[in-house]
Symmetry: C2
Subunit: 339 residues, 2 copies
DNA sequence: CTGAAAGCGCTTACAG
DNA sequence: CTGAAAGCGCTTACAG
């Protein structure tokens, strides 16, 4: 059904119906209520393309997923993030356009989506410390929100981030207070901005406590169980740490396996504290969680990114907005004073 | 830049430019080549909404992800599937619309996406044995392709599936040939169609070999490491099986942990054969893989679903098409004759 | 508070 | 092989 048909059906002009459905103030409140009810009843929905065309901007958020690069983003964290974006979009009546492209074609993809009018803005995911995307998007003139931060980018931009530095600083301090002195860090890829901030927090806490950092206790790579397992084996083979900070629950899972295979007991012989993205699929949420964790839901971050981006798309230009989420320190069964 | 401007720029009418860019046969091959090159050079891209409006159908595939239901689909398998869909869409110049809705609102979401003209068709994911979506979509008149099958649905429909029954039958036969007689099955949720077919294949192989099925050796639930771990502990505590079939690598990972914790050696004391969706994030791809597996890439399935759906959307009605993929039986280090 | 008309940027019969 | 014109289904100044 199209607007004209529906307008005839309810005995109003198309103009009035359109205004009522879009919540314009000119139309009588009773009329509006009646028309909205009638639309639902008859299942009338305005054609989105005609709408976008007439309004001049797409009510659509772009998510561009690079593929086949070194940081394969097709990962569980991305799925939960998208769920958060989706929830906010549903609330605000926005759509999500998902594009999968080889990493080197990302700039072209942004340009194409923008000039085709398919999206009103994009969310930039997994930014690197010196990520070129904000500068590119500024040049194209496409609104964006960064999930995380791009330290190397000049000028203001909107972002949503969790306070990674503080989380890892607090986490390290917690382990220090328990009496640990040999604390290892199994970090994500440190070309990624958030991974650097995490390392900074860890180093800051050690320095504040007068504990020297040992490069042999620091690793940086993929956030997978396999990587956690391999690094834990390496660490257990050498001058053993008494505690390990992990950048992701998947890493911690690998660490746990290595610990158990070595005949050690988690939380007694070796403490593990992990960053927990609170993924719906990898629950660490029992009354007393398996892993002590710095927990921050990536799903909430997705929703907030979408919220800020939609504000920018609908509100026109204006000062960029930043939002810093704090991680909780949740104590579970994997931490204790050193044996 | 819009068509009119671009047409003026190259000294042609908008009509001719449009036809050239859309590959219509009427336009001179030289002219076409010249116009295509010029479009790329000047960065002209037709506005997608105007295009959809004029053409009458959206070149967009809908992916509707239910959330918060019993089968939380926000999972690693979904991410790889989407990557496959995205690859095919990129090739065919289609877009992906991603919608996240509570499970009970799924029918409304389909109707809304369809009547807003946002999508040309949808992919139905994780179908249940008696899934109501095909019937609903038939009623709405929205083209669709099912990833998997809906045994309970009357009438023809398009689907792409892996031969789950044969995979599990072959897998079970392989274990039987090694000499196993007590073979357990840790399956996915058996309300899902594919899980039933897997169980059927397992039971058929046992029956063909004259081996009785033992309900105590069969489990069905979430495809997570936690579930695999819990079920493996249960199985190891009772009259122990000598081999376990798993419905997912994540389950197998949990089983492996339970096996190792029990002081047993995988592939010597207990054989494990798993269905492997070949996720990019959970590689089981070494020269000699950790897990012996029935392997079928879910990413390829995503690409094939997209291909069939795009054919249906652009080709108009016609007989539904089915595509059955076969899983490979890949032998790794987790299977051997019983001790 | 309501409506007739123009315009958003394309595609595609129709006419040449 | 090419072009002028109508039409896709909306929204929104403009006029009442």
């Amino acid at each position: 059904m199209k607007l004209k048909d529906f307008a005839k059906l309810v005995g109003m002009s198309a103009t009035t119906v359109s205004r009522a459905l879009n919540g314009h103030p000119e139309v009588n409140a009773q009329t509006r209520a009646r028309l909205i009810a009638a639309a639902r009843q008859h299942g009338y929905q305005p054609n989105a393309h005609a709408r976008f065309l007439a309004m001049g901007h797409a009510s659509t958020i772009g998510c561009v997923i690079p593929i086949g690069g070194r940081n394969e983003i097709v990962n569980p964290i991305y799925a939960d993030f998208l769920a958060g974006v989706g929830e906010e979009c549903a609330r605000r009546r926005f759509e999500i356009n998902l594009t999968v492209v080889p990493e080197e074609e990302q700039p072209d993809a942004y340009r194409a989506l923008s000039s085709k009018g398919l999206i009103g803005g994009v969310i930039v995911q997994f930014p690197r410390h010196d990520d070129p995307r904000p500068a590119l998007l500024d040049r194209i003139g496409l609104p964006y929100v960064v999930h995380g931060r791009v330290t190397g980018h000049d000028g203001p931009y909107s972002w949503v981030d969790v306070n990674n530095q503080r989380a890892f600083q607090r986490g390290t301090e917690f382990l220090l207070q328990l009496g640990h002195r040999r604390i290892a860090l199994i970090n994500g890829d440190e070309r990624l901005d958030f991974a650097r901030r995490r390392r900074d927090g860890y180093l800051r806490a050690l320095a504040d406590a007068g504990v020297g950092a040992d490069p042999a206790l620091m690793a940086s790579g993929e956030m997978t169980a396999a990587y956690g397992y391999a690094q834990a084996r390496r660490l257990l083979g050498g001058a053993r740490p008494t505690a390990i900070l992990c950048a992701a629950t998947m890493i911690a899972t690998g660490v746990r396996q290595a610990v158990e295979e070595a005949g050690l007991v988690l939380g007694r012989d070796l403490s593990v504290l992990t960053f927990d993205d609170d993924l719906s699929y990898y629950a660490n949420r029992e009354a007393v969680p398996v892993f002590s964790a710095m927990r921050s839901p990536v799903r909430v971050a997705g929703a907030r990114c979408a919220a800020l981006l939609i504000d920018r798309i609908t509100g026109g230009p204006g000062d960029p907005v930043q939002e810093l989420l704090e991680a909780e320190l949740v104590i579970g069964r994997s931490t204790a004073p050193p044996a």
